[in-house]
């Protein structure tokens, strides 16, 4: 294997992010120091955190020498658990990277016709997956433990831990590489065998995969994470039959002075890493050039549909745009994730409460209701609004070159946002109703509020989505500029607060009635009055921002720079 080739291929991957960072590409010269800023930052933070921890250690053990043993034991147990921890989160983050890359239009991967061996290609792919957050965090962890070990006198263990941490990250990335190739091959085979149903199989399959992945991710990274990590860290020696635990066992054996066992598990770990790399290389060689078969959606001649959109007042242009967008959101994998977020928002708290064995509350709390009724639909309106124009990507020339007016463009996009946000409200509201059993009055109020939020936040996000549209597709579709996305988030947050503000007196009276029933028990404020005020605020916001969206669309179509 020529390591120079591997490094060159990795550089290609690293440099592919230039396009999405909006660099000025004429007379472009890279600043070698700034190009690696995440790693320098991680190194700096790691050193600072290590020094700080060391100072605290010195201060505490000087003040109370009895703490010395406690610190030593604690440090050792943290060091010993690190390889397994790094393995888990590297697996999660490299998998997330692969999910993000699923929308890549133009691959930055090495052209297969270059004289590069499959070993080099696979090695570069594994290492490139680690670049970014996983590698930066490994750099941070290593610098913390190395510096801190100087204070506690565990330099040898720290060095061994650092090596194990690197190996764990590589192990995770190699596993992701294997899963990625198998997934591509498996999906291709499913498409081929499923014929015309392939589109819907892909849609349902992607939704299920993303939902399961995100639920797992949030479960691990929220309350359940500490439990899972503690369990693995303490029980890793008992899990000797799992190759992924071998690195942790190696470190544990060396730290406990069991050199023979340490050497055996070192050999086993190295063997396992080589096996993972070998499997990834073989799979790449076998399926790396695999092209998924073309999906046939329909057979036979052309049979145009009259459609109901035209009957309910949409022009042919608006109907065509709506139909096109519907197909885009059910066929483009990177857009499918938009449908998943609202589902995950409500499933995660429900699953966590089930996991903790808590009984379902008979009377719904305000937060639970907000999560199930208001949040998913609002998030859907925000996400769709900000992406609806940018999702056109480089094909936006088709919109520019077609006789599409700003009015038709905004109308069709807005109707799409409202339709899917209200669909989301219907689904998540039904789930919330079943799980939390709110009263009929609360349900009606919550539904109307969600309705108002959707209408207002939809226009706000659409106006920001148009003005901040980012049609870049490499290395992945951006859809909206980061700055516009942040502005949109702030505007939606403020508008959401403004729309919900009329309910403040009602909420206050309810809360006070609980804490001081003698004084406030008889106080009753009618929520329907708040509902009317809220509707007026939402209407005003929707009208203002719809006009802004129209004006932004006009500018977009007039400028139409490509």
């Amino acid at each position: 294997m020529r390591w120079k080739n591997v490094l060159s291929l990795m550089q290609v991957e690293r440099k592919s992010s230039r396009l999405i960072r909006g660099k000025k590409l004429t007379k472009y010269r890279e600043n070698r120091f700034l190009a690696y800023w995440p790693y320098w930052l991680a190194l700096g933070i790691g050193i600072a955190a290590g020094v700080l921890a060391g100072i605290i250690y010195n201060f505490a053990t000087t003040a109370d020498p009895e703490l010395l043993n406690l610190f030593q034991e604690g440090t050792l147990s943290v060091f010993l658990s690190l390889p397994t921890l790094v393995l888990i989160y590297s697996l999660v983050f490299t998998m997330m990277q692969q999910i993000r890359l699923s929308g890549v239009k133009i691959s930055s991967q090495v052209p297969y016709w270059l004289p590069v061996t499959w070993q080099e290609h696979t090695m570069a792919s594994i290492l490139a997956s680690l670049m970014g957050f996983p590698l930066a965090s490994v750099v941070g962890i290593i610098s913390i433990i190395t510096i801190f070990s100087l204070f506690v006198g565990q330099v040898v263990v720290a060095i061994l831990t650092s090596l194990a941490v690197f190996a764990a990250a590589f192990m995770a990335s190699a596993t992701t590489e294997i899963l990625r190739i198998l997934q591509v091959r498996f999906i291709g085979a499913v498409y081929k065998s499923s014929g015309r149903a392939a589109v819907w199989i892909r849609f349902a399959g992607s939704l299920i995969f993303f939902i399961l992945f995100y639920i797992g991710y949030f479960y691990v990274t929220s309350g359940g994470a500490i439990t899972v990590i503690r369990t693995i860290a303490s029980a890793q020696t008992g899990a000797w039959f799992l190759p992924f635990a071998w690195l942790g066992i190696t470190l544990y054996s060396f730290a406990m002075g069991n050199l023979l066992l340490g050497l055996i598990f070192t050999a086993l770990s190295v063997f396992f890493i080589i096996c993972l790399f070998f499997i990834a290389t073989v799979l790449n060689k076998r399926f790396g050039l695999y092209e998924p078969p073309a999906i046939t959606v329909s057979r036979g001649g052309y049979a145009p549909k009259t459609g109901i959109l035209g009957k309910i007042g949409f022009s042919t242009t608006e109907s065509a745009l709506l139909r096109k967008d519907l197909k885009a959101f059910t066929r483009r994998r990177e857009l499918m994730t938009i449908f998943i977020i609202p589902i995950v928002i409500i499933l995660v708290p429900i699953m966590q409460s089930i996991g903790q064995g808590q009984a379902m509350p008979t009377e719904a709390s305000t937060i639970s209701l907000a999560i199930t009724f208001l949040l998913p639909a609002s998030v859907m309106a925000m996400s769709l609004g900000s992406f609806m124009i940018g999702e056109e990507g480089q094909t936006v020339w088709r919109i520019y070159a077609s006789p599409i007016s700003a009015k038709s463009l905004v109308k069709s996009k807005y109707v799409f946002i409202i339709f899917f946000s209200l669909m989301t409200l219907a689904i998540t509201g039904s789930i919330g109703f079943i799980v939390y059993h709110p009263s009929l009055r609360t349900t009606v109020v919550a539904c109307f509020e969600a309705f108002f939020l959707v209408f207002a936040l939809g226009t706000i996000s659409l106006s920001n989505g148009i003005s901040g549209a980012d049609f870049t597709e490499t290395p992945r579709p951006r859809m909206i500029r980061q700055s516009s996305s942040l502005v949109n988030l702030g505007a939606c947050l403020l508008s959401g607060i403004a729309i919900l503000a009329p309910f403040t007196p009602y909420l206050l009276s309810s809360t006070l009635a609980v804490f001081a029933p003698t004084f406030f028990g008889g106080l009753f404020l009618d929520p329907f009055l708040a509902l009317v005020v809220s509707a007026v605020i939402a209407l005003v916001l929707a009208v203002i921002f719809y006009r802004i969206a129209l004006s932004n669309a006009m500018k977009l179509l007039t400028k139409a720079e490509m």
Binding site: T296, T316, A320, A560, M562
Partner: protein, 257 residues
């Protein structure tokens, strides 16, 4: 504006930062003409074509297409024009037929008419049987055919085609060339940019050679031969002489060393 003119550019300037892409361009193209726009890479051809349909706004000057000012009323111009960009990016998640259906609806073609035209074009360009496949499974040539059909579908009065025959098989290329001549008899104007000089020579009534954002030479083959003082030469020699890139032999000899 002259009623016989399909396109009229007056004193048009377009800059991309420090790069002057189009430099005080004046150009008039008559109705029913097949006009070829040639020039080396980066000479301003694609920018000029994009300005005709409003995809690029000129920094200076005026662009009139079919009697309509492009800057003032771009939607009307787009309704009258069929456009194929240099590397057409299509909606890859749609099938070929869905894409053409979308285009037909955007241009407001009646349902029956749309069906007939789509069927006809798919048959002529041998896409029958693949129209139900998603475009991301198409070859480059098939994508180019879909892009061309989408430009012809609404029967435009002006066709703006940037490298229209690239990636096409010989049969389809011939059909398109003959079809352009047929459209000419129906007073449809065609402006095409190409690097294949044989195509330009065979298809175009007049040719404009662009260089550094300006029209260097303009006319039919006879006029171009006279301008270049190459009476018996083909377009390739004329082009190389006029654009000052006729040092081919020296370059080749240097490379072969």
């Amino acid at each position: 504006m002259n009623g016989d003119l399909a396109v009229e550019l007056k004193d048009v300037v377009k800059r991309y930062h420090e790069i002057l892409a189009v430099n005080q361009l004046d150009l008039s193209i008559s109705t029913g003409e097949i006009f070829g726009l040639l020039g080396p890479n980066g000479s301003g051809k694609s920018t000029t074509l994009k300005m005709l349909i409003g995809l690029v706004q000129p920094d200076q000057g005026s662009v009139n297409v079919l009697g309509v000012n492009v800057q003032k009323d771009p939607v009307t111009v787009k309704q009258l024009v069929g456009y194929v960009p240099e590397s057409p990016r299509l909606y890859e998640f749609l099938t070929g037929i869905e894409y053409l259906d979308f285009i037909g609806d955007v241009y407001g073609i009646q349902t029956v008419e749309k069906k007939n035209r789509i069927t006809e074009y798919l048959k002529a360009l041998q896409l029958e049987g693949r129209e139900g496949d998603m475009i991301n499974g198409y070859s480059d040539g098939m994508k180019q055919k879909i892009a061309l059909i989408s430009a012809f579908l609404h029967k435009p009065k002006l066709l703006i085609l940037d490298e229209p025959l690239s990636a096409l098989d010989p049969r389809s290329a011939r059909i398109i060339k003959d079809f352009l001549h047929q459209l000419k008899t129906q007073h449809v104007t065609t402006i095409m940019s190409t690097h294949v000089l044989e195509i330009a020579q065979a298809v175009c009534d007049r040719i404009g050679i662009m260089y550094q954002g300006k029209i260097l030479a303009l006319g039919n083959m006879k006029e171009l031969r006279r301008m270049s003082k190459l009476p018996d030469s083909g377009l390739e020699d004329i082009f190389l002489k006029l654009t000052g890139t006729d040092d081919i032999r020296a370059v080749v000899e240097e490379l072969a060393k």
